[in-house]
Amino acid sequence: MIREALFVSAILFSIGVLGVLTRRNALILFMCVELMLNAVNLSFIALSRLHGVSGQVFVLFVMTVAAAEAAVGLAIVLSVFRHYRTVDLGRIRLLRG
């Protein structure tokens, strides 16, 4: 089952990459990043069946960092929205030159 779980994790991670590359809505982009973090968590948990409980401890850390990232990231989206009135990443291009 470990190998199959790793397969599922790889596919989910690739779907997350696909979303990050194609979507322009900043909120959906964040959701795709969360999906990638979840895929990595799945492989940590699968491999913890082979290598001991440290993998599960690491998943706890990843979840904490993901929560912090979601809070700060959404606050950034909120303040960008106040300034530009949009979350369209194609229209937020101050640094593009």
Binding site: A10, T22, N25, I45, S54, T64, L74
Partner: protein, 174 residues
Amino acid sequence: MGTFYTVHFWLFSAMAIIAALAMVTRRNPVAAALWLVNVMFALAALYVMLGANFLGAVQVLVYAGAIMVVFVFVVMLLNLGENDVKERRSMGAALAASIIAGLLAAELLYVIRSQPLSSAPLLPVDEDALAPMANSLFTEHLVAFEVTSVLLLVAVVGAVVLAKRSQFANEARS
């Protein structure tokens, strides 16, 4: 591993993958968020099937419960509809993105296939898995744990500072 186990493993795997694909393709952010909740529930089931019962519960509580509520809350706060963001990438860009993601998937699957995983014996699932995990968390990973608490504090303060309206903007408005 019995047939019952295998069938349910693939059921939840398929559920996760289909919901993830649906999430990536939805135009409406609320629909995308709900599909992501679906992915997280399926993953929680997979965690339990892999012997991580506590993390399955945490997944439902923290990810599906807390983080996704924050997402939906922000979507509702910004009052975003389907047509507020123009997904106007060209077909070429979408094709290139699909090729890159497909290549990544193929590469990962190839690497996983070539690993001699099945030769190693599986560790037994501990029914009371919380105790070894807590032991590891509070001894081996104690520094990381403490640093994480500082990180959460910084994130809370940072989120409040970023999301609050600046005094300058208020004065300009009034």
